[in-house]
């Protein structure tokens, strides 16, 4: 067992000790709740057209106004939370699972495997991230899940590199040597001893990456490479609202605001989490 060292006050209370992180947590919980209960909360069906006049302005019935097809924007923003968050989270899961597995494997294997693996990872990191994601979309084809997959794949080298270097420094530690000495299989050493020790680093990385991932997948949707109409994904909604910004600015203000608040909240939480879990970071 590799028990976590005593941390004094709990991680959670230290997490919430900073006003920024507290606000971030509250906003994030609100957005998660909005996504989870969107069908109950949304005043209208988010895909139903002709709920109001085309491009109708904000009113007590339609808080955020209406889009070109007379769909209620407030309902679409609520429904969009599901798609935007789902895309962001699945992206991080893909990068995390594959990147961490790859990183642990080559770091633990060491020797030639590690040298070749590290070289390949470094080479993959030479693709500017958005360019790599667009290249993958070009291969997979345009679409919501393909965009998430593309961003997820393009994040694998980043996770692999950090996991690898963390594994390298852990692999020579006593508890790993001891586990090997008593005859633990490689799989057991990785699963029972290395992964629990890597967990804090991986949690921090995944959280810090989530904000970027949500932003990134929305960007692809905005470019027309991700979610397609009529999906109420925030990036896709902004893309659809582009033509009418002049006459109906609300078509782009609210989806963008939702996206910004989500990413900002995730970043506030991620920043604080990295300060609390990673002693090398300067706690502010």
């Amino acid at each position: 067992m590799s028990a976590a060292p005593a941390r004094g006050p709990g991680v959670l209370s230290r997490m919430l000790g900073s006003p920024g992180a507290l606000i971030g947590c509250v906003v994030l919980v609100a957005i998660l709740g909005m996504a989870a209960f969107a069908p109950l909360l949304a005043p209208y069906d988010w895909n139903a057209t002709s709920q109001c006049r085309r491009l109708a302005a904000m009113s007590p019935e339609h808080w955020f106004g209406c889009d070109l097809f007379g769909r209620d924007i407030a309902s679409r923003v609520m429904g969009g939370a599901r798609y935007s968050l789902a895309m962001g989270v699945s992206t991080v899961v893909i990068s995390l699972v594959f990147g961490a597995t790859l990183g642990v494997c080559i770091g633990y294997a060491g020797g030639r495997v590690d040298r070749v693996g590290a070289r390949l990872i470094d080479a993959m990191l030479c693709f500017p991230p958005i360019i790599l994601a667009i290249l993958i979309v070009a291969v997979l084809g345009v679409g919501l899940w393909n965009a998430a997959l593309a961003v997820g794949i393009s994040g694998i080298p980043r996770f692999a590199r950090i996991t690898r270097s963390a594994t390298l420094s852990l692999a020579s530690r006593d508890f790993v040597e001891a586990a090997r000495a008593i005859g633990s299989s490689n799989l057991r050493v990785v699963l029972r001893h290395l992964l629990p020790s890597l967990a804090p680093i991986l949690i921090v990385m995944a959280t810090l990456d989530l904000g970027t991932a949500v932003l990134f997948t929305a960007t692809l949707s905005f470019l027309g490479l991700g979610a397609q109409p009529p999906t109420p994904e925030w990036g896709a909604m902004l893309n659809a609202g582009r033509e009418f910004v002049r006459y109906a600015p609300w078509t782009m203000v609210f989806p963008g605001l939702a996206l910004f608040l989500t990413v900002m909240a995730v970043n506030l939480v991620g920043d604080r989490l990295s300060a609390v879990l990673d002693p090398r970071q300067r706690v502010r």
Partner: protein
Amino acid sequence: MKLQSILRRLLGVIPTLLITWTVVFGAMRLVPGDPVLLMLQGTPVSDEAMAAARVKLGVDRPIVVQYVGFLANAVRGDFGDSFRSRQPVTSLIAAEFPYTMQLAVGGLLIGVVLGVVLGVVAGVRSGGWIDTLCMTAALAGLSLPSFWIAMLLIQVFATELGWVPVLGTGLNALILPSISLGLFIAGGLARLTRNSIIDVMQQDYIRTAHAKGLPAFLVVAKHAMRNAMIPPLTFLGIQFAVLIGGAVVTETVFARPGIGRLLVQAVLEKDFPVVQGVVALTTAAYVLINVLIDIAYSIIDPRVQS
């Protein structure tokens, strides 16, 4: 001795480029569908014309021969012709490059000014409310969707106030795109600069400078800034390298010509030679700039050893 290590680093670019270009080549071969049909884009043609097109594209040859051919041409800067415009990919990219360059410089300029000011102020006043304010602003810069802020800027400053043109490629039309690009760069730069300044401010030579009675402003400007700027410079170098590949989003929102827009258009139109060429050249520029930054360091700062 020094020249040798510089040469070694430059040669180190070759295997990296080989791997990335192999990935690009492989990815383009994974695209489902017949490249000849994609090139003809539904135009009905005879079997002979199809066969001729196949030979012209070189897809009738074994994959290994195609691969070697791709590398040999790529090294000479030849990435084939666009499926759409039938022009050489390299000249298409060359035509867009100046616009991308202008935007990259504009964005970096705004990013540096904003980022350094925020970072230095936060670092010098670390721990207080000024620090929190500056760092929250920096985080906001990193969290703002650039396409959203771009649309807001257009709506406010171009449509409502009419201060700057929405479209065009003149200097005036460069202001809003540069701001929307610069905010993100400023966010990252401010955070790095702050941490770097805090580290430097704890050094002995800063205490000495204070002790000899130098005004606080001069201590920061003359002693702290110069030593604290190395990590932020790396970040800027990488950002510049990314921007060379085109500010995909900014170019699209502002309908500016540029390499990023060329790439997105090519993906949407399934113009694969253009996709291949843009990605291959962008990556090459990225790798090269990174190596040049490394080399520049070892020359500027003798403590950095290869």
